[in-house]
Symmetry: C2
Subunit: 654 residues, 2 copies
Amino acid sequence: MSTDSTEDIESVTGELRDLLAGPHASTRATVLAGLEPYAGLLEEAETLGLDEFRDRVRDVVVELAGSGLTGLGFPKEYGGGADLGASIAAFETLAHGDLSVLVKVGVQFGLFGGAILQLGTERHHEAYLADLVSARVLGCFAMTEHRHGSNVAALETVATYDKETEEFVLTTTREDAFKDYIGNAARHAELAVVFAQLEIDGESQGVHAFVARIREDGQPVVGVRIADDGRKMGLNGVDNGRIWFDGLRIPRENLLNRFADVDADGTYRSEIDSVNRRFFTMLGTLIQGRVSVGGAGLTAAKVALTIATRYALQRRQFDSESGENDLETRLLDYGQHQRRLLPLIARSYALTFAQETLVDQLHRSFSGEVPDEEAEVFRRELESRAAGTKALATWHATRTIQECREACGGAGYLAENRFTALKADTDVFTTFEGDNTVLLQLVAKGLLTDYSSEFSSMDQLDLVRFVAGQAVETVVERANVHKLRERIRDLLPGGNEEDADIRDPEYHLEMLTFREEHILAGVARRLKGGIDRGTAPGIVFSHVQDHVIALGRAHVERVVHEAFVDKLESLPEGPTRELLAKVADLAALSAIEADRAWWMEHGRLTVQRSKAITSEINSLCRELRPEARTLVDAFGIPDAFLRAEDLVAESALS
Amino acid sequence: MSTDSTEDIESVTGELRDLLAGPHASTRATVLAGLEPYAGLLEEAETLGLDEFRDRVRDVVVELAGSGLTGLGFPKEYGGGADLGASIAAFETLAHGDLSVLVKVGVQFGLFGGAILQLGTERHHEAYLADLVSARVLGCFAMTEHRHGSNVAALETVATYDKETEEFVLTTTREDAFKDYIGNAARHAELAVVFAQLEIDGESQGVHAFVARIREDGQPVVGVRIADDGRKMGLNGVDNGRIWFDGLRIPRENLLNRFADVDADGTYRSEIDSVNRRFFTMLGTLIQGRVSVGGAGLTAAKVALTIATRYALQRRQFDSESGENDLETRLLDYGQHQRRLLPLIARSYALTFAQETLVDQLHRSFSGEVPDEEAEVFRRELESRAAGTKALATWHATRTIQECREACGGAGYLAENRFTALKADTDVFTTFEGDNTVLLQLVAKGLLTDYSSEFSSMDQLDLVRFVAGQAVETVVERANVHKLRERIRDLLPGGNEEDADIRDPEYHLEMLTFREEHILAGVARRLKGGIDRGTAPGIVFSHVQDHVIALGRAHVERVVHEAFVDKLESLPEGPTRELLAKVADLAALSAIEADRAWWMEHGRLTVQRSKAITSEINSLCRELRPEARTLVDAFGIPDAFLRAEDLVAESALS
C-alpha cells in the first residue's frame, strides 16, 4: 500500500476506524462523548482516599445511568434501550475511562440487573428494573463464595423453604463459606441477587437465585453481616465485600423463578429435570458478563498500544544512520521494537472482529432472531465462544499492557501516565467472570461433547466418562471441525505446503484448523485410552489437562482468525483492504509462529517453512512500520483518555 | 527420591535451604532477623499517605543503617563490613520485606555510596563515606535524564570548568533534559552524584561524575530546581524526582577523580584516552547495582511462589476422585496447575545458583583476588554476566508473580495478600539499572567482539562495523563458545540424539551450547553480509536485532544451567542431590521446550525427541508434586513476609 498524501492517510484511518467501531459506531460515539467530562476521574483515582473514591465512582455511575448510557440492554418500558448489542458496545466504550466506573456499571447493570432480567419474571421486572436502570437502587451479585469460585455448583449458602411463613431462610452454612469479592457489597448495595442451594423438606434442588435486601439506611439488615474486602490491586473505586447470611428471611416471591418455582405449599416445579442442567441454564443466560469483560480488556489493550506506539514514534535513542543531523534513532525504527508492538496491534484487530461477531451472535440469540429449532445449540455454541474469546482477549490485555509499559521504560512506571492504572485495574480480568483456564476447558468440553445439552454443567469427571463412552471417530466427526474446512479450497494438492502462498489467509486457516482437529482427536484418544486402561477418571483428566486446554485455545484461535478473514472478504478492493490484509497476515502468522513447534512436531510444517514464517513476520513488521500511526489512530482513543501527555506529545523531541 | 519420614523431609529441606542460601547464609539470617521487626511496613504501605510513607521508609533505612546491615560493602574504616559478596546477599535478603526500603537502600548505599566509593578517591571517601554509611547524610544518583535513559553517553547536562574560580558549573542545557526518575531526589537527598559532560575551554571530555550539594535545610540550594515525579506504579516509599541545574557552582575537588582529573589550570588528565571507554570504565565499576536488582527480583519471585504453592496445596476445587469423602481436588493435583508452578520453582533454583556464581565472581573481581593479567577480561565478562543474569532474573520475577497471582484467583487480587505490592514494586526491575532488552544486546556484543576492551562502550553502529570487519570464523572462534564444550563428553557419537539420556544434564548443556554457537555464527554472518551488500549499518542492525537479542539470551540460558550443573556435581550422593537433580532436569527441559522450535529448525531436535521432552516435563512435574512443599520451604521465607495469611493457612479447608 502506498499512502501518498495526508488526505489518503486520513481516509484510510477513517475507514479503518469505522470498521473497528462496527455496527454500533454511533452508540460508541455517544458513550465516548458522554464519558469525556469524566476523564478527570483518571487523576482522582490516584489522589482520593478509598471511601471517597468509591463514593465518587458511585456518583459517576448514577450520573451515567441518568444519561441512559448504561441501560441499553433493558426493555424500553423500564427505561432501557432494548438493544443488547448496543449495550455491549457501550460497555466496551466505557473502558476508555476509569475502569472502576466500568466494573461498577458491570456489577449494577450486567450482573445484578442482568440476573433480575434474565432469571426473574414479570413480578421482579416490575418491582426492580425501573429503579435499577435509573440507579435509584443499587444492587450486587452474590454468587462467588470464599470456598467456591470456579466450582459454583458447590456453593454452601443454603435457602431453606419454610412452609409456615412462606419464606426462604438464607444461611451461610459455615463461617468460611461467606460470599466473597462481591462488588458493591461493602458500601453501596441495598439489594443482592443471592445464589444458594435451595432446600425443601430436606431435599436439595441445586443452586437458585433470590433477591434479598441486604442493607437499609446504609446499614446491613438483621440477618446479614457484611465485611469489607479492603484495598485491591486495582479497581479501588469498586467496594468489594463479604456477606454472611444468618437466617435471613425473604418472601417466597423473591425466588427468581424463570426456570423453577416453589408453590406456597412447598411443591417444587421446573421444566428442567436435571439439577445441574437447571443451574447451568440459569448461568447461561448471564454470559453477557463474559462478553463484556473480554471487550473491555480489548479496549484497555488499545489504549496501551496507542500510548506505546506514539511514544515509539517520537522517542529517539542512540545514534542514527544519517550523519547529517544530530537526531538519534526513533524507537520504532528498531526491528526489535517493531516486533514488540506491531504483532500486538495486529492481534488487537483480529480480536476486535472476533468480538464483533460474538456480540452479533449474542444479540441475535437473546433477541430471538435465531429460529427455534436451532436456538438451543446456537446458545451453547455462543456460550463456548464467549468463554473462549474472553480468555484470549483478557490474556491479550495483560500481556499487551505489560509489553507497552516496558516499551516506555521508566516513564511507563510513573502513575501520571496511564499504565499504572491500566495494569492494576485489568489484572483481575483474567480470573473474574470465570478463570481463563477453566473457561478454555469449557470450550474444549463443548467440542468434545458436540455441545451436548449437558456440556456446560459437566465437571471434569463427567467429561472423561462421557468421552470415554464413545468411539474416537464419533467424537471427531461430531465436533464438525472438518466441516469448517469445506470453505477452504484444497491448498496443498501435493501435500507440499511450500506451494501455498505464505500470505494466503486460507493457508493460515487451514493450519489453524488442522491443529484444532488434530488436538481434538488426540484428547479423545487419550481420555478413552486412560479409562480403557482402568485409570481413575480424575487421574486421566489431570494427565490430559494440558491437551484439553490446548484444544480450547486452538479452537478459539481459529475462530478469531476466521472472523478477521470474513471481515476482510467483505471489504471492497482498495488501500484500506490492502493494509488490513497485511494486518491479518501479521496476526495469523504471529499466532502460528508462537506455536510453530507444534506444527513441526505434527508433520504439518517443514523446517524451511517455519523459518520462512519468522522472516515473513519481520518483513510484515517493516512494511507496516510506516502505517503504525494510522493503525493506532484507527482505534479512535481520544487524547483525554490516554493520560500520558509526555509520552504521546509530538514535542521538541521528535 | 522417597521421603519416608518427617525427619527425612526436614533434613532434605534443611540441606536445600543451606544450598540456596549459599556462602553468605549467616549474613542472610542476620538480615532476615533484623528485618522482621519491620514486617508491619508491608501493611503500612497500603495505608499511609505518600509523603508519610516516604518518610517512614526513610526512617527504616536510617535504622537499618544503624544496625550495620546496609553498609557491608564499604571499607571498615568508614563503618562498613568490607565484604562485597555479603553486601549483595544482604541486599537480596532485604527483598523479603517492603521493596521501597530495598530500593531506597539501593539508591543510598549501592548507587550514591557506590559511586563515591568506586569513582571517588581518598578525599571523597574521607569527606562522605562515614556519613553516608551511617545514613547521617542521604544522597542520590543523578544519571538518567528525561531524554536519555539507555543512551547515557549522550547526556545533556554539562559541567563547564571555570579556571578563574576553580569551579565546575553544572547546567541543564535544555529545559527537557532534566535528570529524571532520580530516587531520593524529590524529598530526602542532600547530596547528589551528578553525571555530566565535562567541558574545558570548549572541549568536551565526555561524561564524568561530580558530587554536588542539592539541598540545604530541606530546600533545594540556589542553582538547583527539583520537581517530584509523583506517584508511581509501585515503590511509592521512594521519592523519585527531577533535577534541573541552573549554573550550579561546585569546587574543582568535587569531581570524582579516580579515572580522570582536572588540574587547577584546566589541564585534563586521564590514563584512559578514549572518551567513550573512559565513561564505560566508570560505569563498569557500578555493576553491583545490576547484580543486586537481579538477586532482589529472584527473592520476590520466591515469595510469590511460596504463597501460590502453599495455596495450591490447601485449596480444593471441583469433585475429587474418591467417593469416600466430600473433599474436592487440591489445585496442585491438577496437571495444569503443576505445569504452572513447578517449572517456575525449578527455574528459581537455577537462577539462584547462577546468581551465587555471579556474586562470587563480583566479589573476587572487586577484592583483587583475580590475578592482574586476567583482571581486565575477567571484569568485562563479569559485566556481561551481570547484565544477562539481571535480565533473565527480573523477567522471571515479572512472569512468576503474574502467574502466581492468577493461580490464586480473586484472592490474589486483594491488597491484603502480597501480590499487589509484589507486582507493582517489582515491575520496574525489568527496565531500571538497564532496560533488559538493551542488556541482552550488551551480552551479545561481548560475545561478538570477544570482550574487546571497547565492547561496553560500542553502540550498535560500532558493533556492526566491528563485526563486519572480521571473518565470520574469527568471530566464532574468538568467542570461545566451543571451548566450553570441552567439558561435554561426546554424547552423540552417531549424531543420533535419541541415544542421549533425556535427563542427562550434559545433554541439556550440549543443546544449549549448540544453540548459542549457532546463533553467534548466524549473527556474525548476517552483520557481515549486510555490510558487504552495502546496506547502511543502522538498517543492518535493525534487521538483525532479534538475532542479536536471541544470542544474548541463549548465552545467559546456557550460563545459568551450567551453574546449576556445577552445583549438582559438587553435592554428595543422597536424597537431596537426587531431588535437586530432578529440579535441574525440569529447569533445563522447560527452557529447551520453550524454544524447541528453534532446535527443530536447526536440525538438532527430532520431532519424536521434541514430543518426548514435553512428556518428560509432565512426568517430572508429577514426580516433584509430592516435594512441592519441601521445594518452597527451602526458599526459607518467614511467614511474616508472605503477608497472605488466608492463602497459606493450613486451615479447615485442607
